[in-house]
Symmetry: C2
Subunit: 465 residues, 2 copies
Amino acid sequence: MMDGQGTTRTEALMNAVRAKIANRALGPGDRLPSVRSFARTMGASPSTVVDAYGRLEAEGVIRARRGSGFYVTGADLPPMALAGMGPPGARAVDPLWVSRQSLDAAPSALKPGCGWLPPEWMPHAALRKGLRELARAEDGLLSDYGGARGAPGLRRLLLGRLADEGVAASIDHVMLTGSGTQAIDLICRLFLRPNDAVLVDDPCYFNFQALLRAHQARVVGVPFTPTGPDTSAFERVLKEENPRLYITNSALHNPTGASLSPQTAHRVLSAAAAHGVTIVEDDIFADFEPALSPRLAILDGLNRVIRTGSFSKTLSASLRCGYIAARPDWIEGLADLQIATSFGGPSPVATGLVAGVLAGGGYRKHMDRLRNRLTCARMAAAERLRPLGVVPWIMPRGGFYLWCRLPDGQDSTTLAQRCLEENVILAPGNVFSVSQTAGAFLRFNVAQLDDARTFAVLQKAMAKG
Amino acid sequence: MMDGQGTTRTEALMNAVRAKIANRALGPGDRLPSVRSFARTMGASPSTVVDAYGRLEAEGVIRARRGSGFYVTGADLPPMALAGMGPPGARAVDPLWVSRQSLDAAPSALKPGCGWLPPEWMPHAALRKGLRELARAEDGLLSDYGGARGAPGLRRLLLGRLADEGVAASIDHVMLTGSGTQAIDLICRLFLRPNDAVLVDDPCYFNFQALLRAHQARVVGVPFTPTGPDTSAFERVLKEENPRLYITNSALHNPTGASLSPQTAHRVLSAAAAHGVTIVEDDIFADFEPALSPRLAILDGLNRVIRTGSFSKTLSASLRCGYIAARPDWIEGLADLQIATSFGGPSPVATGLVAGVLAGGGYRKHMDRLRNRLTCARMAAAERLRPLGVVPWIMPRGGFYLWCRLPDGQDSTTLAQRCLEENVILAPGNVFSVSQTAGAFLRFNVAQLDDARTFAVLQKAMAKG
């Protein structure tokens, strides 16, 4: 018997079982419903169920045990999927979409949607000098694991930055990690259990969602305004959802480029304190600010706020080094988790290189140049997008993102799929939005917008309506 | 009222609540038992419970909500502990103990218990040459993230090795990771849910236990013999526990140095197939073998067996680079998880360096030298331990471990604590043993045994009885 899709009843039952296994409602070793009860549930005849189970057994998906029914073997259990599988082009436009497209882009691709600066903006002279110096470093640095919390030299540089901002901290407040994302991942491991609620901004950095999905957390969005999260909504959601963590960018927020106002900072921190919520403040864009804007970690003095960051946006993403600043007892637990899951911190070679470049006099000049260059690029980008009817939500005070509203009737996911066919990788609004309400937005990286082809391809895609 | 330890009844109740929070029986936002029911459970008066709850509220640990009782705030929730906290010297001798002691050892410490070669055994000339070459590499390699699965060049080198072993695989079978441990961690993320059973050898590498604890897996040990796991026990445990994964080292097993026999390999793989168990074969010591011994991944052709490894033991632990070889559909899911949790693969700078050294003609010579040197060190170590009554369980055919039985009446945990006071870091047997039945064993690293002080300190510690 066939349904509308040309699927037989037997195949429909097989698909139902496969779906239960795919979404892990049934795990390996779990017993399937009895033939009679599954037939009743599915409105099918017992003989159809017997047929379906038999074919699934032949495929190795389930296995009969004498006298006790059928069990999931797990042999062909599809892995716990974060995203829809399939060839990259055919993948769903979900929170992993932009990352996969950008990381694995062909060299010829244009990447106005990606989250980093083009190589020619990075301080290669300093990196090359650092590598030549490393070639003369002591043996241990080149071949040993390094300490569990990472090199003290780089940790002290980070402490110096905290001290400049008015936060008195000790070396026990800081550890290094394999990346900024890994820093947040370790924190999630320390604090979250499956189904814990976690608050994020809506919109927020898409990888926060992918990461939280990997932790099986319940992701709850709070509407984001040009001065930070909507504080009334924030307070209401704290009450209703009892979240364990709030993960945010306070300065040069991704994707909007907005920064927290002092009043919002104070209200957010007070509400978090009242509800026992731990805050993860991802400060990855800190050095792109023209001047320090309010930070939750500073107001709070690293009590319930944890600061994370990395050097991927300003120095090199190839070195893979992030950091965490937090209460020493939490750092202790995070360092244990980093040993258990990565066997130690980031590469001592990489941290040596980062520390050398940061301590060298050239870093401040490099950042001055980057900030100026980005200011010009931001204004130029806004100028070139305006004729297309694409308008910045706000004009950020730094960084490389421009969060732009499309003309009425345009859907950014559709545009992103069309532009991908022309080898232009966009960042459509809904990959950033828990509530899926940002379909009218695109995030542009103003440093990746100097090719006229981007605008031509975008215009053509928009013309299709 | 005071009990034997000088704790008041109120404090005892407070401690009971804190313990529930510490072991996460109570999470943030969870409601505490009512005063009446907690009093009944604890055999205390309601007024003592009111007192205890009030003091916990004053500490910010719990919070009253009008008319609905007390709730855990989470504000002062101790992080999810992997290990007992406290200053390093005072930590419990658990699966994280050796790692913490070894990674954070003072430069003057002797480390016969650590799991890596001394710096002077590593190929520094090749590493320095590689760094000088990297200083002239193209910009993108020095500052970009690199692809989601890691550099194709190094992946192809690994494919070549698989082909030499008779496994036909494609580039889609291989991905690079931030370390060998991170490779296994990603696999656990893909396959495990909390409380899933995972099989390990007893004894096994201690960090498998720490890692599985971080995944809240149920760790089940199978007795290990000189030819691999005890196959009858393995088959019985598969039936009884329905494990999702089996994690093992087939060749030069850590800590025993044993290698799988062909018969055991076949039986283990057949049993795993019959029960739908996925196998993780951590092949980190592969290059230390004088000749290829049986491998599950080869027998199986990368179907249900996943191979992991790294370059930390033979090239450099400072570079942080591991790999996974597995079915392409699993690699796809693992690459997604690596993006979500680390934003991409290992450092392209590091993988470039590793690939350069591996492809250079010197690597084969370096490994020949290492193997010869280790054979001598192994025999010398056995020779020097014999007068102490410390006897190898087997004489391994390669690698740097010697798993040794102590004389009757000696406890390796006690010895390890005594020797730590003398700045000698040992690896006591029970950190490797799920069943805690290896108290009479120590794992020695024969490459870290050239200082006579180690033997003197050990002898002194044993003399205390």
